[in-house]
């Protein structure tokens, strides 16, 4: 079998390198019976396009971020919700604890999880230091058009962002139409947006989760041993990928500092203010993405995890 696999990640990126290694491992362990054909760099279209083409059988698998995952299983986007996590240990804990539930939601959406491929923490970058939510009101904040999560977050903070498609952001930053953006540090550097911002808020806005998924219809056709090869290696390699992206993001923050981007560390009480705004934002997403019960479950699991670690 050849699995046609599409992703937005560009050729030559770590993402594609890991994917290629994964493909090699799968070919080796399946004795050449199974392999991928990789379509990088958004050749096939954006994430929603890829999902439609997978549903039609033209492609079979893809790497997705929240945009695509939300199209398949909205509940999983709880992982992307505003001000939920403070560090990657918390992310790993919640992802592991609720994994079977997420897997079930994804399968109901017609996809099988091969592995999590996290994008990483997303921060807010602005042209002025942000010491409190009030400072954010002075910022012309960009928002990725049509994404409910930042919409809820900014609504809770009390600012009205400027919705633009991501391809227009570079231009909008240059013209001053927007002077605040959010993305992962790695992407901020890669997209060259960092030349137009001065400050970075220390508190992450959200974590951005990603997943590598294969059509369930196709997956079910494979014999059990091949399924095993796919999933076992998928978990292994994409966990590696997640760890490398975390490293890349940490490196990118160092690059940003070198390039003169200031990091504003929030006072304890201000951080708490943002946190309660996050809570409010997550409530705003109830019914849109997930049920109230599920959110409560995730939040309380996180609370007891924090207490257990003495935080």
């Amino acid at each position: 079998y050849t699995i046609k696999f599409a992703t937005l990640a560009p050729e030559g990126s770590t993402w594609i390198k890991v994917m290629t290694e994964y493909d090699k491992a799968v070919r080796r362990e399946s004795g050449g019976r199974l392999g991928f054909r990789i379509y990088p760099g958004g050749k096939v279209g954006d994430e929603k396009d890829v999902i439609r083409k997978i549903r039609l059988g033209q492609y079979q698998a893809g790497g997705f971020t929240g945009v695509g995952i939300g199209e398949i299983a909205k509940e999983v986007r709880v992982l992307d919700s505003p001000f939920l996590f403070k560090n990657y240990d918390e992310v790993d804990y919640v992802v592991n604890k609720f994994e079977s539930q997420f897997e079930k939601e994804l399968e109901d959406g017609g996809f099988v999880l091969l592995g999590w491929a996290e994008v990483g923490f997303v921060y807010i970058y602005t042209n002025r230091p942000i010491y409190s939510p009030v400072d954010l009101k002075e910022v012309k904040m960009w928002m990725w058009e049509g994404d409910p999560i930042p919409q809820a977050a900014f609504q809770a903070i009390g600012i009205s962002p400027i919705p633009l498609s991501i391809t227009d952001v570079t231009m909008a930053l240059q013209t001053g139409m927007v002077n605040g953006v959010y993305t992962s540090p790695y992407a901020l550097v890669a997209l060259q947006w960092f030349t137009r911002v001065k400050d970075m808020m220390s508190e992450p806005l959200a974590d951005s989760q990603g997943a590598v998924l294969i059509s369930k219809k196709v997956f079910d056709l494979f014999p059990k041993d091949l399924q095993q090869v796919l999933v076992t290696n998928g978990r292994k390699y994409f966990r590696q990928l997640t760890l490398s992206s975390r490293q890349e993001n940490a490196n990118a923050i160092q690059t940003l500092k070198k390039k003169g981007v200031q990091i504003t560390y929030l006072r304890k009480d201000v951080a708490a203010q943002f946190e309660s705004m996050g809570e409010k934002a997550r409530q705003l997403l109830v019914g849109k993405l997930y049920t109230k019960e599920f959110l409560n479950e995730v939040e309380s699991a996180l609370r007891s995890y924090r207490q257990g670690r003495g935080k």
Partner: protein
């Protein structure tokens, strides 16, 4: 023939009205968005997405009207030199070909809406994506109907030899 014309006229009138209305909404939305963005530093968060869906709607309705008026891009370097009657036969043949293609496109679009889109997915203001995408099969279906009507007209005219009257128009 007369029934055919009545159907055609009614359909065209409805499409005309819908086209003008949707265009007005689209223009208003796009202009409002610019004013909000550049003057008030805010925006309707689904505005651009909605405007693009409306472009598709306007496009299909426009394509429907293009069919009637023979305004689809085509090569007429050869047919230009034919006599009017022969041209009618050529038109009938082209319309037959286009009808068949549009029929296949209608079926393909119906499959697309049914299988590739998530029936629970909404795009803006809670409108399901399947409803917005419905213009694709409906549009191709309407265009097909228009080609069929044109084809019948051409054949009838060619056989009746009412060519002179047509050509004089």
């Amino acid at each position: 023939m007369r029934i055919l014309h009545a159907v055609d006229r009614t359909l065209t009138a409805i499409v005309n009205a819908a086209l003008v209305l949707i265009f007005a909404v689209m223009l208003t939305l796009a202009a409002t968005q610019v004013f909000l963005r550049d003057l008030f530093h805010t925006g309707i968060y689904w505005g651009d997405v909605a405007a693009r869906y409306l472009v598709i709607w306007v496009g299909f309705l426009g394509a429907f009207l293009a069919t009637r008026g023979g305004k689809h891009f085509h090569i007429d370097v050869l047919t230009r030199f034919l006599n009017p009657r022969a041209r009618l036969w050529f038109n009938a043949f082209s319309d037959l070909f286009a009808s068949v293609v549009c029929l296949l496109l209608t079926l393909a679009s119906a499959t697309f809406v049914r299988e590739a889109l998530d029936p629970e997915s909404t795009v803006f203001l809670g409108i399901p994506e399947t409803a917005l995408a419905m213009i694709v099969p409906v549009g191709f279906g309407l265009i097909m109907a228009q080609f069929v009507i044109k084809m019948i007209e051409s054949i009838v005219n060619a056989m009746r030899g009412t060519v002179e009257k047509k050509a004089a128009q």
